[in-house]
């Protein structure tokens, strides 16, 4: 198994190189000159413009720019700065904790609510509870996240004052409850549907019938034979979600003023700030890759048929 883990970790190297190269190419292809955004309406002499372009290697082809980028990242160069002159690693170090906490909280809400509700719905297939959750999850899936975000922010934050309406730079876990819930909503609906179908399928599976025929109690059958097997697809979905939760938090972070990774990426893309954009996206890609590794390892725990040699 350790060999397997090592192999997977080695695979991240080409993934990292490929991903950053593609993103660099995309940022390079973006029309417009980021220096113009920096300069604004006021004229700047060609010398100053060229000096700034040189400083960020903007006159080189994107392959050369990319190699400069790799050098800075691999050597953890503390002077590796974005277009605003601020060190990129420091920016990410400041932004990552709040986004990661937000994503983990959303994931926990997603997993707990989604699996519990989905299991109940699956066990009582086609009952009233199942129908009600179906309707609710369809509604949740169809309302855009920014509508839910603004409405909940206004109702619970501004009007009722139960939660702080925004998070800001000084954040605490309790500030993040509302944004995490908003972030989790669409996923909760999917997790519920997924668990429900999976549980429902397993209930009629052969091994469950055998277990029942052996005379096992209902609770034992459900816990050991139905639930465990039903969770394989759900765990895949939830695990992969951590990656998309971190990346997909841009809208939520905007609404609730969370100074996280999503916001950093959004601003960097807007400004054409290649160093920050590519580094942030590379971090997201790495998180995604590591989460799928963890998910793969969890399979073996849940499903005795899967083993890594």
């Amino acid at each position: 198994m350790w060999w397997y883990v090592a192999k997977r970790l080695l695979q991240t190297i080409p993934v990292f190189l490929g991903a950053t190269l593609i993103i660099y190419a995309l940022v390079f292809l973006r029309p417009g000159d980021p220096i113009n955004g920096l300069i604004g309406n006021k004229p700047v002499s060609p010398e100053v413009r060229e000096a700034i372009r040189d400083q960020y290697h903007l006159n080189d082809t994107f392959i050369v720019q990319w190699i400069y980028f790799l050098k800075d990242v691999v050597t953890f160069n503390p002077d590796f700065v974005g277009l605003d002159g601020q060190p990129v690693f420091e920016k990410i170090k400041n932004a990552l904790p709040v986004t990661a906490t937000l994503a983990v909280m959303a994931l926990a809400m997603d997993a707990i609510i989604g699996i519990v509700v989905g299991t109940i719905a699956g066990l009582r297939r086609n009952g009233w509870f199942d129908s009600v959750t179906l309707v609710i999850s369809l509604i949740l899936l169809s309302i855009p996240i920014f509508v839910v975000g603004f409405v909940l922010q206004f109702l619970l934050g501004v009007k009722l004052g139960i939660f702080p309406p925004t998070v800001g730079g000084d954040w605490s876990i309790s500030d993040l409850i509302l944004p995490a819930f908003v972030l989790a909503i669409a996923n909760i609906a999917t997790t519920t549907r997924l668990t429900r179908t999976s549980v429902a399928n397993n209930l009629s599976a052969d091994h469950v019938r055998t277990a029942r025929a052996k005379g096992l109690s209902n609770g034992l059958v459900i816990r050991n034979h139905v639930l465990r097997n039903s969770l394989v697809p759900v765990v895949t979905y939830i695990g992969i979600n951590l990656g998309s939760l971190m990346a997909g938090a841009i809208i939520t972070e905007g609404i609730f003023n969370v100074q996280g990774i999503g916001n950093l990426a959004f601003q960097a893309v807007n400004r054409g700030d290649a160093p920050v954009t590519v580094t942030v996206v590379a971090v997201m890609v790495m998180i995604y890759v590591f989460m799928s590794l963890i998910v793969d390892l969890l399979y073996a725990v849940l499903d005795p048929r899967i083993r890594y040699v």
Binding site: G40, A100, I255
Partner: protein
């Protein structure tokens, strides 16, 4: 056997998941206790993360500019109405033709590190800002001074500006390229702030550390925490400050926001005291919102669209007719009301109503009023000279709020009134639009705007429409206009305003840009905030805010 292997697997997964969670919690615990109990309360104001080091000559956007204006004092300080009072300067005297200015500095002026503010603190900082080797974005502000080129960089081969001479510790002279009677009005702008000697390293470069935590001479200084990246900038009153903007509050915190909407929500719920703008989503409601105090008045930023001189059909007499026809085809009040909910005021000239000497009666400004009949007649007259062909397109940047809506509305108005094919043309970002504008590859009229650098009507005219001026994006050139602006800048009092009016009349005839509206200054504050007044920059006088 199988069980134990599975347990080990679970262990690996758990450790991996656990370390992620731990990393997540690492930065979360911050001490929230603030020095409370003082009678003077700290005011929280809207801000954004500065995009440049906090160096006066490097900062050209509001995220860094607003804190800088409070951390530094220039030779003069702006009063709320846009007039100036001497601040660090004891006197600023001109020679007879206003080309050489002698500045004397008050005694006992200090930076917050204790070092004195001397003539050298200014001259060295300005030389630094003008030298292209230092890559400062505010070099442009030095262009009136002798020894700089037209964009304000030191002339080739020189490291220093020849027009700046230190006479003694407290005195220096500024020699200008041309006579300019209101030159001191410029000197309150942040590019002209002094910088202490401790800011420079051995090679004479301003250090990174200084850019993160500048030492100034203004009404405020940075607190111990100072600039916390992506969080806030905290200022406290400078006890040694002796100028006219003495802080009335216990300090300022510029809280950073990703979106103006989030900041507005925070004002509604009392988490933010001052938001110096209103998001488009709240424009219809903010004045009736009982949770906030609302402010809305005409402001100093001017919107227009420029029709470049190089466009076919827009040159000479035909061009004048077509430009006037298009201007008269636009119903400005309809757009400012329907699209901007009266947060814009239709323009009646090329400057701004908040300035000294402004008048709504500039001769020739009837061309800025909606007049469908006259517009059609002028367009038809132009067609007689040379038949119109093609499409009238209006370029705008789609990342500015309301740009799309007004460009579409305006294109429709032009289309309906003149019966020609007119359409908006979107550029996704501001820098994309600026790129095609600066390299002159743009082949359509485009949206332009101007926010003054210093409170003078001339600052709305000379830098944009004078021949060869730095921001003359449309390459407009009119000798008579150049002469009038030059004369006006040397003249004083009513004579000056008369000349400015004449210059504007020429612009109204040639219409190098079509004036649209003045952007209103809008703001919201919490209910208990006092002392909010817009200054000429559409910003509050931060030092006067209390609660």
């Amino acid at each position: 056997m199988r069980l134990s292997r599975r347990t080990r697997l679970a262990g690996v997964a758990l450790i991996a998941a656990g370390s992620l969670t731990l990393a997540a919690c690492g930065g979360g615990s911050d001490d929230k206790s603030d020095g409370s109990g003082s009678t003077n309360k700290v005011i929280s104001v809207y801000g954004t993360n500065p995009q440049n080091p906090l160096i006066p000559t490097a900062t050209n956007e509001v995220g860094g500019g607003d804190p800088l204006d409070n951390l530094f004092s220039g030779l003069v300080a702006y009063n709320t109405d846009g007039s100036v009072s001497n601040e660090v300067a004891d006197s600023i005297k001109a020679n007879e033709d206003s080309t050489v200015w002698t500045v004397k500095i008050k005694d006992g002026q200090k930076f917050t590190d204790g070092s004195p503010v001397t003539a050298d603190s200014f001259v060295k900082a300005w030389n630094y800002g003008a030298n292209p080797a230092n890559k400062q974005l505010n070099n442009y502000f030095f262009y009136p001074i002798k020894g700089t080129d037209e964009v304000g960089n030191t002339v080739k081969g020189e490291d220093t500006v020849s027009g700046l001479k230190v006479v003694d510790d407290k005195t220096f002279t500024i020699t200008l390229k041309a006579s300019e009677s209101d030159f001191p009005l410029r000197l309150g702008y942040s590019a002209y702030f002094p910088v202490p000697d401790s800011a420079y390293d051995a090679d004479g470069k301003i250090t990174k550390a200084y850019g993160n935590a500048p030492i100034g001479n203004g009404p405020y200084k940075l607190t111990k925490t100072g600039w916390e990246k992506n969080k806030q900038i905290s200022l406290e009153p400078n006890p040694d400050y002796k100028g006219i903007h003495k802080a009335k509050n216990g300090g300022l915190v510029f809280k950073f926001y990703n979106s103006v909407d989030a900041a507005y929500t925070d004002v509604q719920s009392g988490n933010l005291d001052v938001l110096d703008q209103v998001p488009p989503s709240a424009l219809t409601t903010f004045e009736s919102d009982s949770a906030v105090k609302a402010y809305n008045e005409p402001g100093s930023s001017f919107s227009s669209f420029t029709i470049p001189d190089s466009l076919a059909h827009f040159k000479g007499e035909e061009g004048q007719l077509r430009r006037a026809a298009i201007s008269e085809a636009i119903n400005r009040p309809e757009i400012t009301e329907k699209i901007f909910n009266n947060a814009r005021t239709p323009a009646s000239d090329f400057t701004s109503p908040v300035l000294d000497g402004w008048t709504k009666d500039v001769p020739g400004n009837e061309v800025l009023k909606f007049n469908a009949k006259d517009a059609k007649a002028k367009w038809a007259a132009a067609d007689k000279i040379d038949k119109w062909s093609g499409k009238f397109e209006l370029a705008y940047n789609n990342d500015g709020a309301g740009n799309k809506e007004f460009s579409e509305a305006m294109a429709n108005q032009i289309k309906n009134t003149l019966g020609i094919d007119a359409a908006p043309k979107a550029y996704p970002t501001f820098d994309e639009l600026r790129t095609v504008v600066t390299d002159r590859t743009i082949k359509t009229p485009f949206r332009t705007g101007w926010q003054a650098d210093y409170p003078s009507m001339l600052n709305y005219l000379a830098p944009i429409y004078a021949t060869g001026a730095g921001s003359n994006d449309g390459d407009y050139s009119n000798k008579k206009f150049d002469k009038l602006v030059q004369d006006a800048s040397a003249a004083k009092g009513d004579e000056r305003y008369k000349l400015i009016s004449q210059a504007q009349t020429i612009l109204l005839k040639d219409l190098p840009a079509i004036p649209l509206w003045y952007q209103n200054a809008t703001a919201v504050t919490t209910k208990d905030l006092k002392g909010y007044v817009f200054n000429w920059k559409q910003k509050p006088d931060y030092y006067a805010l209390t609660k």
